[in-house]
Symmetry: C2
Subunit: 393 residues, 2 copies
């Protein structure tokens, strides 16, 4: 049910013709209220696509009535004209919703329409196709449109990704995500829209969303590459009439984010393994995250996992490049539960490690404290190279 699992939302996914394949490429999610509270986190890349710059402004007001998302073009590095295209997309969406008689006190305005784009960088969007696409999406808006919207934001994703948590207290958090490559923290190449019918104000949405992304989407590091376009948007309609306890709400948002983040890892371009790196015994959580990311970004380690080779030396070499607190001769490393490295040297027999399955678990014990963190990544494969060596051609 995706973004329409929560009451108060309609969605649509249509083919505007931005993709040469003819696959759906334009999604629209509309909040019908009674509330329009919203919060979002954006890529921390300093080179930001036009829709990110636009939506950052929209979110400053804490209210979003609709979000329009296109695949088939990132609208990044397109200069002032690209920004005008984003602005025009928001204007067009508001106009089309108003023309269709879509309910909103005072009418829809561009200032409350968030925009998200994904696809190739450095190419203008074909606005002559996008505008009629918006009209088509508005015409098809439905309280059952969540799946279609999730399909329309796919790029190289092999499957669409949705998640829902229905709280026994009578409110729901649902969401959809796209992302299959260029996955690195802060954020990854992902577009995520979350919706809830809980009655939650914008500042509490913001707190819950930042807490959730910090330990979910921000700890997925498929290939160390950070995009220009990422957005995770959370909209609250209040249509359930229930204002949940902050902790319960934060937990539900976290659960939906964790579910979607795990789906992103599982669908990473060309990957044959999902690697869960848990760093334990760290002096601080920051240390644990730094070490986890260093391992996750080590191409030699990622190749070794692809070859089902429990080459723990590469884990130690990666740990050694960090500034985390540790003593080299106290490091311990387990792969799939076998402690192949103990005290910085050879541990249990590496022949005992079974790496046949898709999920591989690495534990790096820094033996320097009690903090820990989990980072997810993928192996590096020839398929990854093939998919990404001919992406824009």
């Amino acid at each position: 049910m995706s973004v329409t699992a929560a009451k108060g939302f309609k969605a649509a996914g249509v083919t505007a013709g931005l993709k040469q394949s003819g696959d759906p490429d334009l999604a629209l999610v509309v909040n019908e209220g009674p509330n329009l509270a919203a919060a979002a986190v954006f890529t921390s890349n300093r080179v930001k696509a036009a829709p990110v710059l636009w939506s950052e402004q929209v979110l400053k007001g804490g209210q979003v009535s609709a979000v329009v998302l296109n695949s088939g073009g990132a609208n990044a590095c397109t200069g002032p004209l690209g920004f005008q295209d984003t602005h025009a997309t928001a204007e067009k969406t508001a106009e089309s919703l108003n023309s269709a008689g879509h309910d909103l006190t005072g009418g829809h305005s561009a200032a409350m329409v968030a925009v998200a784009s994904t696809g190739l960088i450095g190419v203008r969007l074909p606005m002559d196709k996008l505008r009629p696409g918006v009209d088509r999406a508005v015409a098809q808006l439905s309280p059952h449109g969540g799946e279609k919207a999730a399909l329309a934001i796919k790029t190289t994703d092999s499957v669409h990704k949705t998640a829902v948590v229905e709280h026994p207290g009578g409110w729901t958090v649902g969401g959809m995500a796209k992302g299959a490559g260029m996955l690195a923290p802060g954020l990854a190449t992902m577009l995520v829209v979350l919706t809830t019918d809980a009655d939650v104000a914008a500042d509490e949405l913001d707190r819950a969303l930042r807490a959730a992304t910090r330990t979910t989407f921000d700890r997925v590091d498929s290939d160390g590459c950070m995009s220009t376009n990422d957005m995770v948007l959370l909209m609250a309609s209040g249509a359930s009439g229930t204002a949940p306890a902050p902790d319960a709400f934060a937990e539900a948002v976290h659960a939906v984010c964790a579910d979607l983040a795990r789906q992103l890892v599982g669908d990473a371009e060309g990957a044959s393994k999902d690697i869960r790196i848990e760093v334990t015994g760290a002096a601080s959580e920051d240390d644990a995250v730094e070490v986890g990311r260093s391992i996750a970004r080590n191409n030699l380690f990622k190749c070794a996992v692809h070859g089902e080779d429990p080459n723990w030396g590469r884990v130690l070499a990666a740990i050694g490049t960090t500034s985390a607190a540790f003593e080299p001769d106290r490091l311990n490393v387990a792969i799939n539960g076998v402690w192949v490295c103990k005290g910085g040297a050879v541990g249990e027999d590496r022949e005992l490690v079974d790496m046949r399955y898709r999920e591989v678990r690495v534990t790096a014990d820094l033996a320097s404290g009690t903090e820990s963190a989990v980072i997810w990544t993928n192996d590096l494969t020839a398929d990854y190279v093939h998919e990404n060596s001919a992406y824009s051609t």
Copy 2:
């Protein structure tokens, strides 16, 4: 002529039997004086192999009479017993040189024998093979042994690497290098031995070597992975009887290092392209280096180059992850001389870019100052994945 191009040095390369292939795997370079001055730089990885810990101690005295290098085993993460093996290797080398009547006032001692190792991490060296190998190497020492020594330090190298600068002033700097993967700054997986017959004291050797490695070996970033074993050693015999001007000497050391560094890039595992990334218009050299490394480590960019795809969006996305001074809408990027990105947006026609040849030149102009730096890297290929997914098995 490699390490024996300079007068006062003998070298050998033999098969000790450390490699299953039966290829040469033990090299020895002996300084016959009259001087024994030496300097070295080592990996900045905090997980250091036993031979690195040993040789760091040896170099504190500023004098090295011999260096013994083995391929076929890194002797890293092997604990106290591994360190004992390195110590025993130095002792054995000194004893064997003394037994063979090798000239040195006061005799050779382990405290002046540097040791270097390269190969798989986490495996003890077979000392029963290594000891007789040292005897064999001592027996074969020759003033023409430089090539054999260079051959014996190869691991996955497809060719051995040597370089020589003969200064018209009557002195010479020569060297050999091994390295084909795990190449990242500070240092890369490389073993380098440089020799000179110039009469230069240890502190001046140290200055010249650090200045040279900072802009050569430290700016090669083939795959972002830093090793536990790297060493660049410079030994001066003084046998030419000439004490060169410091600048001339530093220039010669730089030239040999630059030559060897370029050879490392050209032989990187599985690579089909050598990529020269020049960052210009930077506010500081540190900014230029940070941006260059960020581009060099971007797997998506490296895949695009492999596919001969001038995907400049990935260059901008990489720049955007740095803390360097720049404005996104003033960035310019050229690929092989074509300015495909101007002012952060679309520039010249990307169809004009010809990427058929092995060397690819990327220029990233930050438009924020006058500093610059060059970083070398390689493309990411399916062959790289294949070579590194079955390395230790």
